[in-house]
Assembly symmetry: D2
Homo-oligomer: 362 residues x 4
């Protein structure tokens, strides 16, 4: 049996960091050997550092309980201990940009859940089923910064994951998406801990999530974009308008999507076939976290629902349903994904698996 790749989690004590730790528990390729967080946690065993603020529904994995947490800002401490770090730090944007770059400069593959570097023009923002080829920018990125071995890859925002795969499947099948109007009903776990106050989520919804609509509209353009002269050129031809709502659901973001095509339009039954047949590189490479199939179409009239569909494919599958004609655009449908798995830590782990499968990480 091949030796596992040693990995670290930076920002390991926060909500997303805890998710990484749980999802990597029995990972066949990766072994968590390094945990770092803010200076206040440094020096404590992980079990003590998260005592009283462990929010996962299962316990702290045994293997990591006694790991002594390091100070995330002390990058040199990680050198020699692991080759890839998952970044889940919670700091201000500029500080994260710099810290992640520092890890890259020291030779680490950085796979970040954070939004800080999503706009950086030589940092790939990857959904492995869609734009695995964007990893090809890594040599450019390294050259731009003078990094010999390290690099940064980021995962996009959770709010877009319910519609990116179904839309991409249609693009891949030859249809050109012109515009989309999307309304999301997002789970509270997307806000981290503590997130919304319960008094605001009992008998209520909140029709606003800070920064979420902008991300939902801008990030798809980069993901659907192309590399040109060592930089990403966004695909500006798709216009997206997003309404983002917070609803009293623990996990699982739902999106109501209306989509218009330009040029040839698919038939309804054809769309369902395209979705049902959709597969991509992560599935071909049999990446451990790649869901098979990546897309599930439910035929029941009232699905997908967060409670019943979020855990499909161990939380990595995107579930769609209710495909029907739209009075204004061409089609309407509902998409759903598990926001803390596919939409956060699980999506980042899938990127790391892709990096290993393609030789970027050893």
């Amino acid at each position: 049996m091949e030796e596992k790749i040693k990995v670290g989690v930076i920002g390991a004590t926060g909500m997303v960091g805890q998710n990484f730790v749980v999802l990597l528990k029995d990972h066949p390729w990766f072994e968590v050997v390094y945990l770092a967080a803010s200076a206040s946690s440094a020096g404590k065993k992980y079990r003590d550092a998260v005592a009283g603020r462990w929010h996962m529904r299962e316990g702290i994995p045994e293997k990591v309980q006694d790991i002594v947490v390091e100070d995330a800002s002390d990058v040199d401490r990680a050198v020699g201990k692991c080759s890839l770090v998952f970044s889940a730090v919670e700091m201000d944007k500029q500080a994260i940009i710099e810290m992640e770059a520092k890890y890259a400069s020291k030779g680490f593959a950085v796979v970040s859940n954070n939004s800080a570097h999503r706009g950086t023009e030589d940092v790939p923002m990857v959904i492995p089923e869609i734009n695995s080829d964007h990893l090809n920018i890594i040599p450019d990125q390294q050259r731009n910064h003078g990094w010999s071995k390290g690099f940064i890859v980021v995962k996009p925002n959770c709010s877009i994951q319910s519609y990116m795969l179904p839309i991409y499947a249609l693009m891949k099948a030859g249809y050109t998406v012109d515009k989309m109007i999307v309304t999301t009903l997002q789970a509270v776990s997307g806000a981290g801990y503590p997130g919304p106050a319960s008094i605001d989520m009992i008998d209520n919804i909140i029709p606003y999530i800070s920064g979420e609509e902008e991300k939902s509209e801008v990030e798809p353009k980069k993901i659907f974009g192309r590399i040109e002269k060592g930089k990403f050129v966004p695909n500006e031809s798709i216009k997206i308008s997003a309404h983002c709502n917070r609803v009293p659901v623990s996990d699982g973001h739902t999106a109501c999507v209306s989509v218009a095509f330009v040029g040839k339009k698919p038939e309804l039954e054809e769309i369902i076939s395209i979705w049902q047949d959709f597969t991509a590189l992560p599935q071909e490479l049999k990446l451990p976290s790649a869901p098979v199939p990546p897309l599930v179409y439910r035929t029941e009239i009232d699905r997908p629902q967060p409670q019943k569909d979020r855990n499909t494919g161990r939380g990595m599958t995107v579930t769609v349903g209710r495909l029907r004609r739209c009075n204004v655009f061409d089609y309407r449908f509902v998409g759903l994904h598990h926001n803390t798995i596919r939409g956060a830590a699980g999506g980042a782990i899938l990127i790391a698996e892709l990096l290993k499968a393609q030789g970027f990480v050893k």
Copy 2:
């Protein structure tokens, strides 16, 4: 002091019937003197007929507790006792169409909360602030059926009320709406009692409500339509696409709306002014249930919210917020109304008040 108009509630034991009874409790113009329901309730005092299934948050109004419930299908029993009936019966569509017609034929003004007659070509479907002039079809309706005094007026579906007033205000100000994509987040009370099972509404949303999207798309066309040769001609120039979701909220339907205009487009600040200044006939006539103002625009970034805004104007005001440009259409906003007051019994009572103010009921 003028004598009050005697009114009845048909279907008085159901959820909407109970709402009518509560909202009419101290009405300055109307007095509930007649209550009818299914044969199984007939002969019982109202208090006994609703025992164990009274779902209002306040008690049964004292004045009606001892009224003996009549059989709703025995229309003759109502003759001479009241001149207007609010219809909240729960039966199959054809049976309701016939029963409401029978009440009209016996001389009653029928104001119905039910959907059965909404498509009837000579029955006005009225939001008093918008199409009070549609009542002018009543003489035609009476002539068509040979009714001397009675007639039928209906209230539209609750799902459309969050966007009809704000859209109409812009139309009235001279702007032409071309198309709208709307996603609703609807409260469980809209489904009557018992409505959705709690196991389906804990940690969940349901992205489907039977019949609701069709109503949301079709009914506005009639309301914005015109009378021609004694029939309604729908306004087909507005295209609407609706996604309707059920969310774990008790009362208050929220709508996320994207709207495109044709021709001249209003400025953002102008729209807010139009909404803030909007007033209509019910306000001019000082109808007892007419909210002043009918529209409230909230400037907070995360409003309207069901919990905080549904009771504005005693549940009769429509609250709007988050007006912003849309990447795909022209503007986006969020609208909210109280679905069992403005959207159901309260909206019907406002119609009845309009009927009285305009001399259709005496």
Copy 3:
């Protein structure tokens, strides 16, 4: 018309402070003229000081919007402006003890919602229907501290209010309570803002509330105690055991109570009569906030319920139901009250009204 008594709210920007401001809006006896909070709010208009953190379901009362907030620690600023202050400060216990004493020393009647002084041996902890005579300690308190005019009165914890009135009514009728086992199901608003995270209150209950069980067991003893030599002597003869749970309810604490008497035991029907007939000094004095009746017994088998009963008597009535024999003790019942009205600001205002009616405040 008599001039209103000028009052202040100390800690006016917090959740309880906001409740005071709303409940005092149109008070017939009191007028809010003074608002104080932490130094960071001082100098701002109240509307600006609470912008973005106004959590009431109705808006900021117009009369107070433009009041400039003072620094609560600068007690001298309040002198001459008002004669009574409601204390809703959120600081550490010792700081509150000192600040409230300072206000008293400067001549203010201090009516506190805070727990800091509840254990102070010469400070009365009052539920006006139960121990209005405890105000008689005020002259002793003033003498002990050398205060000429000011004094401190406190309101007990919200968790006990669902059972104190029903239990006291039986004691007043001549029955001696021996022991009680109580389990509370408490609303999230009891924790202030933000209180529990929504992720912890979706599809969950939390069987623990910090400090709540101790308060629930200890405070009744002082309230049922007596004054002796200028100090309170707790009634140690009643033994109480409390289990306190947080449940996903916005407002309204429910208590499941088993009670054992010593000596003569009342009949079941007699207990209901005692509750239904119960009235007390606040009702006799017609204090503006005194609910009539103070206790309501519901005969439906599944009441009281937070959603349906919390607003009885404008939130000041305690509702009881389900009285039945207990297999282990003598009787069992369920009690419910509105925790932010009767259990917090409303209860404190009732104390202030009692103080005025009895001449302690002018």
Copy 4:
């Protein structure tokens, strides 16, 4: 590999029936080969019979989808097809009593989730960790009815499962329980489908569940009772008083328990040790569904919680926490279990496993 025992589910289309089908999916000892329900489902494939009313969070197991559902009342149809039936029928009590007896008379081992036979004096009501020896009544039961091979065993009510194991562990360790006052906070799934209306469970709790308090008080006496002359003699020495509440939780019943001992009283630390060390026959026999350990004590101050602890031991473990002294009795604690697994179908399957291990079923 030994051949699996063929089993049937009677009442297979209801909520509990569906739970049986899902929990038995990959059972190492049992194979579902027979499904029966009401006459209206008979003749349909199982997938069709449950279409539109499948409420499990995972899909219909493939192996049973095409089984043709039989009429449960036609007992002869089952003969020769299986040897054990799980009963989850929903009918009136007398009808169930007769139907289950008929299955027994035809030679089937009947393991029932229903309450109908719980009071029958020769039918054992079993929690396998507690009273496995009660199965010894089976020969008497068979003799009483002239049944050669078949018999009936029942599972107790879900409401008692959170406290029976922890209490029994103390009894087994030599302590004598005198009395208990218990308040339960029960999940909505305990009411079957549809169960409580969502409008009653949003921002609310209901302090009443029909029949539940009686079951919670009576059933433990039989379980802790003994066999005498072929009948069960309840243990009347333990007095229990129960308050049962419905709370907005999907799965997981919580119980707040106060307990008094007679005679020697255990130390607090000793109780925790007893719980942590507790094991019983199902664990010794390594029954497939037996959780190891059967009891988990959580040391965190705010546990157990439904959301975090219900799935411990695949839903078969009972979790306890918050052990502390009681002011009125001796100790207090909180217990929690998964009501549709340990408390319903899973508990019944554990009984069936015990029956096989002990040779009652082959």
